[in-house]
Amino acid sequence: MCIRVPRPMPAPVDRRLVVVTGKGGTGKSTISAAVALAAARRGKKVLVCEVVAKERVADLFGRPPSGTEIRQLLPNLYSVHVRPREAMREYALMILKYETLYRLAFENAAARYFLTAAPSLAEIVMLGKVFWHAARETERGRLRWDMVVLDAPATGHGLTFLSVPEVFLRLVSEGPLARDMRLMQALLADPERCSICIVTLPEEMPANEAIELDRALRQRQFPAGPLFLNAAFESRFSPQEVASVTRGGPLLTAAGEAADNHESRAALCRHYEGVLRDTVPRRLVKVPFLFERNFGAQAIDKVSHAIEGAL
């Protein structure tokens, strides 16, 4: 009989691809930027790939948008915006070799139709591009990036995004795209090289979506990374304190309301934290709410320190 001793999984910071998913508006870009920053601080060379319509990460670091060219944001920290049209073109040219052939095949009405009908071709080429970055080597045969952080689209689309290889391979089994999708599928399923994180908020819909997303991801056996509970409020006043300040007369009306507001948000946060801990078998990492008039590099730095322990 052979007893297999499970090897300890590498920490998320040591994996090649970290995917950050979650509902829209939960702070995926913030967490992506903070994960990248924490890794870069530890000496990793990190690339953040953004695949949504509008890139945000460079802006969070107070830098001009990177666009489709890789740009350095900080020492060891780079970002790139992966767009479907450019990714498609690059990809097609890689296979077809000739610009004229590309134009003929892809820049006509039939091909536009084909691009709509082919299952998520836009997502496929974008995911293919991210994969290309993650697998890219330098001339000396070493990996170009220690870590690639993928800031994935919002939940519904995010899950579709990660399932793209599977869906595509169901419909298409031959050709160069199918070959690449198989490699991508293997990387996404490998807990040694990949970690899929979820970002959520202490609110009903984001929490519910995180629960559903977690279930769907585990069903498909994607390697489970941490669950980030973003914008968390910690309790600060006892119920007696809130009651006495609230009853403390007109001079304390504002303070009483503020304390009461704070505690009601902390209570909601506690509630959803409990629900999430009960239903989502992942490491839960709380990211405190930041009261910033301008959310930028400083805020990202704070968040990166808050999550460091989880990486």
Partner: protein, 375 residues
Amino acid sequence: MKPLEGRKIVCCVGSGGVGKTTTAAALALSAAMEGKRALVLTIDPARRLANSLGLKALGNAETLIDPSHLAEAKLTVRGEMWAMMLNLKRSWDELVRRNARTAEQAQAILDNKLYQTLSTAMAGSLEYIAMEKVLELYSSGRFDVVVLDTPPTSNALDFLHAPDRVLDVLDNNAMRIVLGPMLKAGRFGLRLLAAPSGLVLRTLARFTGSDFLRDLAAFMMAFEGMYEGFKERAANVKALLSSPQTGFVLVTSPNPLTTQEALFFHRALERDGIRTAAVVVNRVQRDPRRHGGPDNLAALREALQLAQIKDENRLAERLCETLTEQAILADLDRREVERLRDTLRGVPLFTVPRLRKDVHDLAGLWQIGEYLGGE
């Protein structure tokens, strides 16, 4: 809501998580209370709305909210309150069955691999079927107003251009020509074995293999003869979107990301010649400073002393910090609301304050409804 008076169809649009479903339900409830037969059509699969309406679950059919349940919440509804949850796949299947010439044709489509992907995953497919359903409900004459809670992931363009996109997928001349030989083989009862020919087709086949192109040809063939019916429906859907009887309500939170999205939607509507009927900003932080009173540490200490509250465990400091934080939140929210107001000059704007709890019941919906009343 005043700006919605006389509208038969209300579309609540905006990014996910801004309270669209709740706003849609609150608007329908207000209309019902005013004596209208109102229906809220939601896409939100969470049972939250069903629960808050006192139902176990919502199905793909219209359900009347029990008046006794409304009465329990101390709401006097002069009209009728209906709700329904759209099931994407089932609605598409129904649409195909209704439009197919024969049962065999319907089955051929339903079994097609590509149909299954396209009906559920294609951009705009959810939006299209939602509007199609609205059209159906509206034409039935059973409702005075239909409020649509649009899909959370949709962006403006998916929504407005959904009819065109769907039509384009069902019948695309260019693709028809390219697939020509494959389609012909199929029409004469031959199996679709013809290899992709022609340079374009052969090049495309290098990416996806020829099986996929065969599926595509089979898909187009299966729809043969149904196109005209679909075209007519889609034209009606399109006309309905831009009809003066339809009002678009932009729903947003004071978060800059979601207000940007709302503005984007507004501009997309404008380009299509549609005016935004109203904007709703949910969860706006109230400014505790509106009450006046001390907000610095020394003054807070003094106020505590006056009220004979012991300043234990740095209570004054904690209060001061909390006041400062909430003032920041209120300032940020105000800045965003003002920006919206400036940009959307002339569009009625409603704000709903951040409530202490999530809205879970009819009373909560009515509370929201009151913030949306009048102008």
